[in-house]
């Protein structure tokens, strides 16, 4: 079955109020073209799941797309805190379900396997358990020891960015570190939307089947988006855009400047080519691929 869509069609599969699991680390591998399209389509009241969220969380907070965040941390690491997210949380517009990494993995692991919950020994003694209805202490029925039961989480859709995919939705990743974003997000989610640097013939995938991380039967939509993770890094293809992160850090302190920034980089560019031109065109991209 041909799963190739336009980015508008793919993001059209997401409804207001749903939970989106977003591949993302502080400055890595975020499907930013999908994030921009969520903002352009003016989605509202989305929940967002990340292990560690970066600029995407900031943009989605600033644009009023998300009203809850489920994950372990939000930070742009060397570039600092996500100030628009921070402001939205401090102002009560975004609610945080903060989970340790094993707890997030347990919630999603249970979701993937159609189990009611999975336990972890993490978080015991922390203040994270009491404030969260999706976590509760449980006696191990075999030994009586206390563990933390983590309720199953089934996101409505997972957003993934990959190095290549074929039209049937088989997805390949070059040798790189694989975060839970790839290990469990797509397995726990009801739908999986993938952007890929390139869509290739299936024969190309057959040369390195060990690099295929998602089988086509588990993928709902594939969109070809070159440099689709910019301004985050996507190794080995390109590094993170330092200048763009610094620009964002600066404008994110001010709401008006933030909206002007989103206008310039999110609302106005109609296509990925327009977006790449807006962020500095071939010259900038060449710097990042060196």
């Amino acid at each position: 079955m041909n799963k190739v869509m336009t980015i508008e069609e793919a993001v059209g599969l997401v409804s207001d109020g749903e939970i989106v699991a977003l591949q993302n680390m502080a400055t890595q591998a975020a499907p930013m073209a999908l994030v921009r399209e969520l903002i352009r389509q003016e989605k509202r009241n989305l929940g967002l799941v990340c292990l560690v969220g970066g600029m995407a969380v900031d943009w989605l907070s600033a644009a009023g797309v998300i009203d809850r965040f489920i994950g372990a941390a939000v930070s742009m690491e060397q570039f600092g805190l996500c100030n628009q997210y921070r402001k939205a949380v401090e102002g009560g517009r975004v609610r945080v379900e903060e989970l340790s990494e094993t707890a997030l993995n347990a919630r999603l692991g249970a979701g993937a396997r159609n189990l009611p919950f999975l336990p972890t020994r993490g978080m015991l003694g922390s203040d994270l358990i009491d404030i969260n209805d999706n976590l509760t202490l449980l006696q191990d029925p075999f030994t009586g020891e206390t563990v933390v039961a983590c309720r199953a989480l089934v996101p409505d859709v997972a957003f993934i960015h990959a190095h290549r995919a074929d039209a049937r939705g088989n997805v390949q990743i070059e040798p790189t570190i694989k975060w839970p974003d790839l290990g469990i997000f797509p397995k726990a989610s009801k739908k999986v939307i993938v952007t890929a640097e390139e869509i290739v013939d299936t024969e190309v995938l057959r040369r390195n089947p060990d690099r295929t991380v998602l089988p086509g039967f588990a993928v709902d939509a594939v969109v070809e988006v070159p440099y689709g993770a910019h301004p985050t890094s996507f190794f080995p293809n390109y590094t993170y855009d330092t200048a763009f992160h610094l620009e964002w850090i600066k404008v994110a302190r001010d709401d008006e400047a933030t909206q002007a920034f989103l206008q310039k980089y999110v609302y106005e560019p109609a296509t990925q080519a327009d977006y790449l031109a807006a962020v500095g065109g071939a010259e900038r991209i060449l710097e990042l691929t060196r």
């Binding site: 680390m25 502080a26 400055t27 890595q28 292990l51 560690v52 994950g71 372990a72 941390a73 939000v74 930070s75 690491e77 060397q78 805190l81 997210y85 921070r86 949380v89 401090e90 009560g92 609610r95 945080v96 903060e98 989970l99 340790s100 990494e101 094993t102 707890a103 993995n105 692991g109 972890t120 020994r121 993490g122 978080m123 015991l124 003694g125 922390s126 203040d127 994270l128 404030i131 020891e145 206390t146 040798p175 790189t176 570190i177 694989k178 975060w179 839970p180 790839l182 290990g183 469990i184 890094s233 190794f235 080995p236 590094t239 993170y240 330092t242």
Partner: protein
């Protein structure tokens, strides 16, 4: 000739942390952890060549040519012998009880019983005064029997507080045997700051001054701390980094000065 007898505070902190890593240990690092990363790289080049480093908690035995601009980006785990898959590999090993017994923790607040907060400042969790990055792996590492080594480049009463606003990383909780009663093993072992090295008293589990850095007085450390420290009758001076350690850190491990940036050294 460069003078390696002069050292900066980041170099002393790196050398102090490095001494905690034993040959054959397994250690990993998280994001924005320049001093722990440099300490691991220093230990590997000096007393602990068989130290196993999981860069970014994923890249096994990497060979970065220097401390890069990020401790959670690809240049850190270059030439790894394996990439651990985070969900399936790393957290299995970290939870097994058989691996990764030591973990370096950086957090916005640390209290007198070694509990750390990287979640929120303020009383109302859902309407915080300051939303911090979040617990990430701290709540796991604090509960999974690890020996916790804290580092703090800005020792002041707002970062070393009597009681954290929120426990993101469980230490000795309310002190005494509270941690044991929950069945938790391991716990906070050492705190390395820009002023001193501290540990925890065996019975009360209260933070205790162990050594002051050269040029720093006990009074200065107490004044910079938001609670009363246990101070033994004689407090030693923290050993200075050796000239060879300084040379390695400055010329080989961190020539771009990422640790200096982290420690606010001009």
């Amino acid at each position: 000739m460069a003078d390696y007898g002069e050292y900066t505070i980041d170099e002393l902190m790196c050398a102090t942390l490095a001494a905690q890593f034993k040959d054959g240990d397994e250690v990993c690092n998280g994001m924005a952890s320049f001093i722990p990363v440099a300490a691991i790289m220093l230990a590997l080049r000096t007393h602990a060549p068989e130290l196993v480093w999981l860069a970014g908690a994923a890249g096994v035995d990497p060979r970065p040519d220097r401390v890069p601009a990020s401790t959670l980006e690809s240049p850190l785990w270059r030439d790894s012998v394996m990439y651990l898959e985070q969900y399936g590999d790393f957290w299995n090993y970290a939870q097994s009880g058989r691996h990764l017994h030591t973990f370096c923790v950086g957090a916005a607040q640390l209290d007198q019983y070694g509990n750390a907060n990287n979640s929120v400042i303020g009383d109302d969790y859902h309407r915080p005064k300051v939303r911090l990055p979040g617990t990430a792996g701290l709540a796991d590492m604090g509960a999974l029997g690890k020996n916790l080594l804290y580092w703090n480049t800005n020792h002041n009463p707002r970062s070393l507080v009597e009681k954290v606003d929120f426990v993101s990383c469980p230490g000795y909780l309310g002190g005494g045997d509270e941690r044991d009663k929950l069945g938790l093993t391991g716990g906070p072992k050492l705190v390395v700051t820009n002023l001193a090295v501290l540990d925890f008293a065996p019975d009360s589990k209260r933070m205790r001054l162990r050594s002051v850095h050269p040029g720093v007085t006990v009074e200065q450390v107490q004044e910079a701390t938001g609670f009363e420290l246990l101070v033994p009758s004689s407090v030693e001076e923290t050993p200075k980094p050796t000239a060879e350690q300084v040379r390695l850190l400055r010329d080989v491990i961190d020539p771009d000065g990422m640790c200096k940036r982290e420690a606010g050294v001009k």
